[in-house]
């Protein structure tokens, strides 16, 4: 019997003490998986602008991690969002800080977030709109859903994760699936470039 190939995603789990970026339609799922892969019982902070219509649904987040450990900050604008994110990253009381951005970061803002994350040794993850990446990011991911006709309809979570920037490693793309009952990420295959 042939041993199944185990695929490894480079730069995942995300390097702590750095700020990463993720874009694309499945970015929220990527963020949820990141929190779920972190240490148990480590709290997380989700920073978003209060007016944004799209909001993460806690009933679905519950299948990724324990929602009771998550605190959400609703800010009035991007300046406040960045201030809150910097404060939380520097403090280190939360393991993951998810930041929903609406405008591109300048190099100074991106660098300040990196320094804060380095001081607090917590992981930052910015959810960015299409094409608004910052140069200071450690890694940048692009996540999309992939049609998945073979799996049962309730359980089709096939996604394509593509790493488009990596300061300390190679790039690549993988097809992954989230196992809801085991709360585990299954890497299906390494998709070719």
């Amino acid at each position: 019997m042939a041993k199944p190939t185990i695929y490894q995603i480079t730069a995942f789990p995300l390097r702590p003490g750095r700020v990463h970026e993720v874009g694309g339609p499945a970015a929220a799922a990527f963020a949820a998986v990141c929190i779920g892969q972190g240490k148990d019982a480590a709290a997380s902070l989700w920073v978003r602008e209060g007016w944004l219509p799209d909001m993460a649904n806690p009933a679905a987040l519950q299948s990724y991690f324990d929602v009771s450990t998550m605190v959400m900050a609703q800010t009035g604008g991007q300046i406040d969002t960045l201030a809150v994110a910097e404060e939380a990253l520097r403090d280190g009381a939360v393991g993951h800080v998810i930041v929903e951005l609406t405008a591109p970061l300048s190099l100074r803002e991106g660098r300040r977030l990196q320094l804060a994350a380095q001081a607090g040794q917590s992981t930052g993850l910015c959810l960015i709109p299409e094409g608004m990446g910052s140069n200071a990011a450690e890694t940048r991911w692009h996540c999309t859903q992939v049609p998945d006709p073979d799996s049962p309809p309730e359980d089709s979570t096939l996604q394509c994760w593509r790493i488009t920037k990596n300061k300390s490693g190679t790039l690549g793309a993988w097809h992954v699936r989230w196992d809801q009952s085991a709360r585990r990420l299954v890497v299906v295959s390494a998709s070719g470039e």
């Binding site: 959400m72 900050a73 859903q145």
Partner: protein, 492 residues
């Protein structure tokens, strides 16, 4: 030790406390009444002397009163405000003696034993009381006796002053209503022919006790001084404020922080003594030019740990304009909550404390109400299946039960053009053309009729999970009662 023989008690009765208070604020000439809504009818709560002369009385329906007295003026009553006013009067009355307690909702009782000479004797004290209260616009009846019961009787039933030792004699002529008895007891005593306190005291005790219970004889004995009765002065509410005056003005941030640290140590010791923790702190910095600067700190959890609170002040103090210098500092715990001592544990407690401090710091920037957490709620309606609660005032609790898969992203419903009860083969959403790979559903969710939710006025919804060939997995719904298709969420 004082044996109580020479005890002297003053009872004050404000027969028109509520209306006097209202008229103090805005005087009115002529009949005036305060009304309170009781059992769906406005009734007279309190009225002034002019209105009483017109034949009105308390408890009368207000419409009747207006029929009797055409030029009656009225305002709504404020019983809570009256209680606060009486508390202020009680505090004021401690200028005569330290022992001042409440007597019902409209009276005070003062134990002036040994303190009357400070006002020039009992006569001087009563004159002074009358003058002050009269000038304040309050009508008052004052009774002075050897016991609390006697003083009460003198205040309510014919004002009087009993010389030491003569209280029993004066009481014996008074009606039994002067004994603080329930109304049915007074009526029953009058039917028995016992009209005065003297008659009651002379009648045999055992049959009275059998008929009326021990309360009647207790009140009688208390009035006559055979049984002691204490006056409990109200304790002043604890004051959580500390202040510091500086010999030289300061302006450096580090100096202000050091001063705040010293104030915090004193305040936290006070909080610890009382088993409380501060929820909101206010630091007032008074500058040499007479201006004051305020720094408010709202905490995510009640705290009394100076070392933890002090760093949280950093941001607020950094924004203060010191001007030519600060020479007075005052720190007050504006809002205080119970904080019992807790066992220090090995696990978890430290992390929670750090998170609370972080919430506090974030809250100083974006407002403590904007730091929230999700709590589960018992509803099938997707947007009501969770509660967004401020993290500072809620605990993570409850269990999440998700019977059917729910989308990861929720947004307000966005209409798409489609017809029919089955999902369309292709549609446009957010300027994308999507074709369907497969669908699962429908899941019918009916609106909760006990809430009037404008978003659910279109009736029940059939939810479909739709997988598209382009990859996106969407949550569509169809409203059969008001045909139309909408997208409300997106799955992972």
């Amino acid at each position: 030790m004082f044996d109580g023989i020479n005890r002297r008690v003053v009872s004050l009765w404000f027969p028109r406390l509520a209306s006097d208070r209202a008229l103090r604020a805005r005087p009115v000439a002529g009949p005036f009444a305060l009304t309170l809504k009781e059992n769906n009818a406005n009734r007279i709560y309190c009225l002034n002397a002019a209105a009483e002369r017109e034949g009105l009385h308390r408890g009368m329906s207000f419409s009747d009163a207006r029929a009797f007295c055409i030029d009656l003026q009225s305002r709504p009553a404020d019983p809570l405000g009256d209680a606060r006013f009486l508390a202020a009067l009680r505090r004021w009355a401690t200028r005569y003696c330290p022992w001042v307690g409440y007597e019902g909702g409209d009276g005070l009782v003062m134990d002036i034993t040994g303190s009357a000479h400070l006002q020039g004797g009992e006569r001087g004290l009563l004159t002074d009381l009358r003058q002050h209260l009269g000038r304040a616009g309050l009508s008052v009846r004052i009774g002075l006796g050897d016991t609390r019961g006697a003083a009460w009787a003198f205040a309510r039933h014919g004002e009087g002053v009993a010389a030491p030792g003569e209280g029993a004699e004066m009481l014996s002529e008074m009606p039994v209503a002067g004994l603080r008895l329930p109304p049915d007891h007074i009526e029953a005593l009058q039917r028995l022919g016992l009209r005065t306190i003297g008659q009651l005291a002379a009648s045999p005790r055992a049959p009275l006790a059998r008929r009326f219970g021990p309360g009647l004889l207790m009140r009688l004995d208390q009035a006559l001084g055979r049984q002691p009765e204490e006056i409990s002065p109200e304790p002043d509410p604890p004051h959580y404020g500390v202040r510091m005056s500086l010999p030289e003005p300061i302006g450096l941030e580090a100096d202000v922080m050091a001063g705040t640290g010293r104030l915090l140590d004193r305040l936290c010791a006070k909080l610890k003594d009382r088993g409380t923790g501060a929820r909101t702190l206010c630091l007032t910095l008074r500058r040499v030019d007479g201006d004051s600067q305020h720094v408010e700190l709202r905490l995510a959890r009640p705290l009394r740990d100076a070392a933890r609170i002090l760093p949280l002040f950093e941001r607020g103090i950094g924004d203060v304009d010191a001007g030519f210098g600060i020479d007075q500092m005052r720190l007050e715990a504006v809002q205080v909550e119970k904080l019992p001592d807790e066992q220090i544990g090995h696990s978890g407690a430290g992390g929670q404390g750090r998170l609370d401090d972080l919430i506090t710091r974030i809250g100083t920037r974006i407002g403590l109400d904007n730091v929230v957490r999700y709590l589960p709620a018992d509803s099938h309606i997707p947007e009501r299946s969770f509660i967004v609660a401020p993290a500072a005032w809620s605990k993570p609790e409850g269990t999440w039960t998700v019977p059917r898969p729910r989308p990861l992203i929720l947004f307000p419903p966005e209409p798409i053009t489609a017809t029919g009860a089955q999902p369309p083969q292709s549609f446009r959403w957010r300027r994308m053309r999507l074709t369907i790979l497969r669908v699962s559903g429908p899941e019918r969710i009916a609106p909760e009729w006990w809430f009037d939710d404008p978003n659910w006025r279109s009736g029940m919804r059939d939810y479909w999970r739709v997988e598209t060939r382009q990859g996106r997995r969407l949550w569509l719904f169809y409203t059969p009662q008001n045909p139309g298709w909408f997208v409300q969420g997106e799955f992972a």
